[in-house]
């Protein structure tokens, strides 16, 4: 078990930073490269790293597969929900100009929520696929 020590220690240091970096990429997608997809993949990579180093069981306890499956749908619903919000104010579907007090603010809000929905769905799908692949053949 001795040679497990270095991955464990390094991962314990790195995983919070990876998650923080994922959050940064998600919300600063407006000002630099990034956005929903990249952030979702980085989140999923952090969880996969945790599962690889600390075992699939503890990762499953931390993030149960049923919860992640629900998250897949939640992200997509946030995205389409923003569009319906525009419909409710009598504008076109996914028209962000009406979401704020002036068009630029509306665009900012719309892009924020849309990217959030994208990030949630992408990370949930990647983690789900990893659970499916890694959990096979052990029952």
């Amino acid at each position: 078990m001795k040679h497990d020590l270095i991955p464990r220690v390094v991962s314990k240091l790195l995983i919070p930073f990876i998650l923080l970096f994922g959050l940064y990429v998600q919300f600063h997608g407006d000002y630099g490269p990034g956005g929903g997809f990249q952030a979702g993949v980085i989140f999923a990579a952090a969880f996969i790293l945790y599962a690889l180093v600390f075992g699939l069981e503890s990762a499953r306890r931390m993030l149960p597969p049923s919860f992640v499956s629900v998250l897949i749908a939640v992200g997509l619903m946030i995205f389409s929900g923003v569009g319906f919000l525009s419909l409710a104010v009598d504008a076109n579907y996914l028209d962000y100009n009406v979401l704020g007090h002036d068009p630029v603010h509306g665009q900012h809000r719309g892009i924020f929520w849309v990217e959030l929905g994208v990030g949630i769905t992408v990370s949930a799908v990647m983690v789900t696929i990893f659970y499916m692949f890694a959990g096979r053949g052990r029952n």
Binding site: L94, V122, M126, T128
Partner: protein, 184 residues
Amino acid sequence: MVTALAIVRLRNLFAVVMLSGIYSLLMAVIFTILDAVDVAFTEAAVGAGISTVLMLGTLALTTEKETTPAHTPLLPLVVVVVTGAILVYATFEMPLFGDPSAPIHHHVAPRYITQSGQEIGVPNIVTSVLASYRGYDTLGEVAVIFTAGIGVLLVLSGRTLSKKGAASAVAETEAASDEGHHET
């Protein structure tokens, strides 16, 4: 290119997967040189991260070596060379690399570049096009990822079958469908 050729020749699948990870990283570097920073970010994260992990998972559940083909693949080689030659002939009409007067830069792109600052106020033009000007496409894309996740859930959610288990399961379904045929 060298990594791609090495992927073709190698038999050990584990090495092939590692090389494909390196190939994705090299592609990400090339994308950065070509000014496509968002794309490079995504390609590095996705290709060198997720794809490699999934392929390694598949290898852990299947074999690790590729068996030698019984016959030399001459016909595919001929097909590939002929298609390549036709494509090379077609590229002589294409615009030169990096030419600012190429047709691609004239129709919609100047509007996005000049108007995106005032209409949306977001510095990253790629994000503004992706999330606002072409928001429908992004909706479809999220739907595609959603479907892929659901598909993997459906395909891989049964309990593990061994070979004998698979054979007996196939025999069971055949017997059930036979009975169904007899009844109707």
